[in-house]
C-alpha cells in the first residue's frame, strides 16, 4: 500500500473511532458542566444500550423497533440513575459523587449479568449481525468497513443535532445557563431539575448510539464493555477542557487521531517503500518504533492524559481553571 493511501485509510479509522469517543464525551461533559459530576456509569449506559439491542434482536424483534427499545430503555435507566443515586448527592463533595457513579456502574453491570443468566445466555453474547452495517465499501484501492462510515456519519449528524438543540432551543439555553452557574440559573427561574434530567436523557441517547456502534465493531457484548470507552471519553473531555460540549467533541476526534497515530506510526517501518526511502529511516522506525509498541497504546494514551492534567488542566482549548489543581 502506498503511503498516501495508508495515511488516508488511517485518517478514516481515526475519524470513525473519534466519532464514538465524541458521542460519549459530549454526554459526559454535559453532565459535568452542570453538576460537576464525573459520571463513570456513563459507560455502563452504553453497555445497557448494547444489551437491550442484542436481546431484542436475539428475540427476533425487527431492527427499527429494537433500536427504539434500546434508546427508550437507556433513557429510563439514565433518569432512574439520576433520580435515585445522584439527586440526593447534589451538595456532596466531588469524590463522593464520583465513587457513587462507580457503585451505580457496578449495579448496572451485575444487573446485565443477572439478566443474561435469566435469559439463559452466556456471559459474553455475540452481537447479532445487522445487515446494513456488515461488509466493506470499496473506494478505489481503499477498503472501508461500512460500520466505520456509519459511525462517522451518525456521529456527525447527532453532534450537529446536539449543537442545534443547545444553541437554538429555550431548554438548550437553560442548559447552557445552568452549566455557567447553576445557582444563578435557578434564581432566574430555570427549573434546574428539568435541565439536569434533560442532560442525562441526551447523554443516554448519545451513549446508546455509541453502544450500538461499539458492539457492532466488537462483535460481542459483555458486562464490563463500558469501562474502557468511558475512560477514553473522559480523556477526550479533558483534552477539550472539561465541561464544554464543543471541547469534548474536538477532544474525541483528537483522541481518535492520537490513538490511530500511536498504532500507525510504529507500523511505518513495514509500510515505507524500501525503494524510495533511505534504509536509515526504515532502520530507525524498526529499531526505535517497532510494531510491538502498538500493544502499549493505552499506556501511552493515559500517560498523555496525566501530563495534560498537569500542564493544561483546562484542556487544550479551555482556559486554565485553578480550582482543578492545587
Amino acid at each position: 500500500m502506498s503511503l498516501p493511501l495508508y495515511a488516508l485509510q488511517q485518517l478514516i479509522n481515526a475519524l470513525s473511532v473519534g466519532s464514538l469517543y465524541a458521542l460519549m464525551a459530549a454526554g459526559l461533559a454535559m453532565v459535568f458542566g452542570i453538576l460537576g459530576l464525573i459520571n463513570f456509569a456513563h459507560g455502563d449506559m452504553m453497555m445497557i444500550a448494547a444489551y437491550i439491542a442484542a436481546f431484542s434482536l436475539i428475540a427476533g424483534i425487527p431492527l427499527p423497533i429494537a433500536l427504539v427499545l434500546m434508546v427508550v430503555g437507556t433513557i429510563i435507566v439514565a433518569v432512574l440513575m439520576e433520580r435515585i443515586a445522584y439527586r440526593p448527592l447534589r451538595t456532596a463533595p466531588a469524590v463522593a459523587t464520583l465513587l457513587t457513579s462507580f457503585a451505580v456502574g457496578q449495579i448496572l453491570q451485575n444487573g446485565a449479568l443477572l439478566t443474561s443468566r435469566f435469559a439463559q445466555q452466556p456471559l459474553q453474547i455475540a452481537f447479532p449481525p445487522i445487515d446494513f452495517l456488515r461488509g466493506v465499501v470499496l473506494a478505489g484501492a481503499l477498503t472501508i468497513p461500512k460500520v466505520n462510515l456509519v459511525s462517522l456519519g451518525l456521529g456527525l449528524v447527532l453532534l450537529l443535532l446536539l449543537t442545534l438543540f443547545v444553541t437554538r432551543t429555550t431548554l438548550g439555553l437553560s442548559m447552557r445557563a445552568a452549566a455557567e452557574d447553576i445557582q444563578a440559573a435557578q434564581l432566574m427561574g430555570i427549573d434546574t431539575n428539568r435541565v439536569i434530567v434533560t442532560a442525562f436523557v441526551i447523554g443516554a441517547i448519545l451513549a446508546s448510539a455509541a453502544g450500538l456502534l461499539y458492539a457492532v465493531q466488537a462483535g460481542t457484548v459483555n458486562p464490563d464493555m463500558g469501562f474502557s470507552p468511558v475512560l477514553k471519553a473522559f480523556i477526550a473531555a479533558v483534552i477539550g477542557g472539561f465541561g464544554s460540549i464543543a471541547g469534548a467533541v474536538v477532544g474525541g476526534y483528537a483522541l481518535g487521531l492520537l490513538e490511530v497515530l500511536l498504532v500507525a506510526i510504529p507500523g511505518l517501518g513495514d509500510i515505507l517503500p524500501a525503494a524510495t526511502t533511505s534504509p536509515e529511516v526504515i532502520t530507525f522506525f524498526k529499531t526505535y518504533l517497532p510494531s510491538t509498541l502498538t500493544s502499549y497504546r493505552d499506556a501511552f494514551v493515559f500517560a498523555a492524559l496525566i501530563l495534560l492534567l498537569l500542564v493544561r488542566p483546562g484542556g487544550i482549548l479551555g482556559t486554565v481553571d485553578n480550582d482543578n489543581t492545587r
Partner: protein, 354 residues
C-alpha cells in the same frame, strides 16, 4: 486521650488477636483460616489506602497497581529455579538465577526479603509517580491515578518475559499464613496510627482541610502528600506480596477495577481518616460478602452480592458520608469508663432491689 489507658487497650486487642490466631491455626478449619487471611490482607490494603486517600484527601484509584507490582516482584524473586527456567525462560541474565528461599529454621527469611524488596521498589516507583500525581486534587487525581492503574495493567500484560503476560503466573510457593498476615496487619496499623498522631499526620489533615491555611503555617503541601503516598504504596505492595504467596497463582486481571472498588467500599464504609475504621470496614464488608456468597451459591444468582454491596455503598455515602467511624478512633479509656459506669448502675439497681 489517656495514653496509658490507650496502651492497655491496645495490649488487650493484641492479646485477643493472638488468642484468636492460636485458636484458628490449631482448629485446622481451612474455611475460617481462609476468611481471616483474606480479612487481614484487606485490612492492610484499606489502612494503607486510608493513609493516602483519607488522611491527605488526594483520592487515589491506582493503589491496586502498586499491589500488582508488589505481587509480581515478590513472586519473581521467590519462584523456584526449575519453575523459573520453564515458566520465565526469557528473564534477563541477572534475574534468572535469583531465588530467595533462605530459611532460618522454620522461618522463611527469603520470603521476608522478597516482600521487603518488593515493598521498597514499589515505594520508589510511588515517589516518582507521586511527584507528578500528587500535584493534582479533587476528582482529577482520581482519574489520573486510574490512568496509572491502566498503565500498570498494560505493562504487566506486555512485559511477558517477566510476567508471562496475560497468562496465569503460577507455582508460587505458599508461604503466607495467618501469622505472616497478622504480623504485617499489626505493623501497618501501628505505623499508620503513629503517623496519624504525629506532626506529619497533622500536616496531612491540615493541607486536606484547608490548603492555604496549611501553607500559611509553613506546611509544604507536597511533602505530607508524598510521604503518605509512599508509605501507603509500601504497605499496599506488601499486601500484594502476601496475596501472591497465598493464592500461589494469579494473572493481571485479578488486580483491576473490581478489587479497587471492593477496597474503596471497605474504606468508605469504615470511615476515611480513621485507623479503627480501616479494621471495621473490611470486617463488616467481609462478613456481608461472605453471607451473600452463601446466598448466591444456594440461589445461583451470581451478581446479587455485588449489587447489594454497591447499594449499601450508595446508602452509606448518602446517609452517613463519614462512614461508620468518621475520623474517630476507638477510645479505650472512654470505653472502660462507660463499662464501669454501667456496672455501677447495675450494682445500684440490684442493691435497690432487695
Amino acid at each position: 486521650m489517656n495514653t496509658k489507658m490507650q496502651r492497655n487497650g491496645f495490649l488487650v486487642v493484641l492479646g485477643a488477636t493472638l488468642i484468636l490466631l492460636v485458636g484458628l491455626s490449631s482448629s485446622g478449619s481451612s474455611f475460617w483460616q481462609g476468611i481471616f487471611i483474606n480479612l487481614g490482607m484487606y485490612i492492610i490494603l484499606v489502612v494503607a489506602l486510608n493513609l493516602s486517600n483519607g488522611f491527605t484527601g488526594v483520592f487515589s484509584l491506582g493503589h491496586i497497581g502498586f499491589m500488582a507490582l508488589g505481587a509480581y516482584i515478590s513472586a519473581i524473586l521467590t519462584l523456584p529455579l526449575d519453575k523459573k527456567a520453564s515458566y520465565l525462560p526469557d528473564l534477563p541474565g541477572w534475574l534468572a538465577p535469583v531465588h530467595l528461599d533462605m530459611m532460618i529454621g522454620p522461618f522463611p527469611l527469603g520470603f521476608l526479603l522478597a516482600t521487603l524488596i518488593a515493598g521498597v521498589l514499589v515505594t520508589l516507583i510511588a515517589v516518582v509517580v507521586g511527584l507528578v500525581l500528587m500535584r493534582l486534587s479533587g476528582h482529577f487525581v482520581a482519574v489520573a491515578t486510574l490512568g496509572f492503574l491502566v498503565i500498570v495493567r498494560v505493562v504487566l500484560i506486555n512485559a511477558d518475559e517477566f510476567t508471562r503476560g496475560s497468562h496465569t503466573f503460577s507455582n508460587v510457593t505458599a508461604y503466607t499464613d495467618l501469622w505472616w498476615v497478622y504480623a504485617w496487619v499489626f505493623i501497618a496499623l501501628i505505623a499508620v496510627w503513629r503517623l496519624k498522631f504525629s506532626s506529619y499526620g497533622r500536616a496531612m489533615f491540615a493541607q486536606r482541610d484547608d490548603g492555604i491555611a496549611a501553607q500559611s503555617v509553613g506546611i509544604v503541601i507536597m511533602r505530607p502528600r508524598l510521604l503518605a503516598f509512599a508509605v501507603s504504596a509500601f504497605f499496599t505492595a506488601v499486601a500484594g506480596a502476601l496475596w501472591a504467596h497465598y493464592l500461589t497463582s494469579f494473572s493481571p486481571k485479578a488486580f483491576y477495577f473490581d478489587l479497587t472498588f471492593r477496597v474503596i467500599t471497605m474504606l468508605v464504609v469504615g470511615g476515611m481518616g480513621s485507623v479503627t475504621g480501616s479494621v471495621v470496614g473490611p470486617a463488616v464488608i467481609t462478613a456481608i460478602a461472605e453471607a451473600l456468597r452463601r446466598l448466591e451459591d444456594v440461589t445461583l444468582l451470581y451478581g446479587v452480592s455485588q449489587i447489594v454491596l454497591a447499594v449499601l455503598f450508595i446508602v452509606i455515602i448518602v446517609f452517613r458520608p463519614g462512614g461508620l467511624m468518621g475520623e474517630r478512633e476507638i477510645n479505650f479509656a472512654g470505653l472502660w469508663q462507660r463499662l464501669r459506669f454501667r456496672a455501677s448502675v447495675a450494682q445500684e439497681g440490684s442493691a435497690a432491689e432487695p
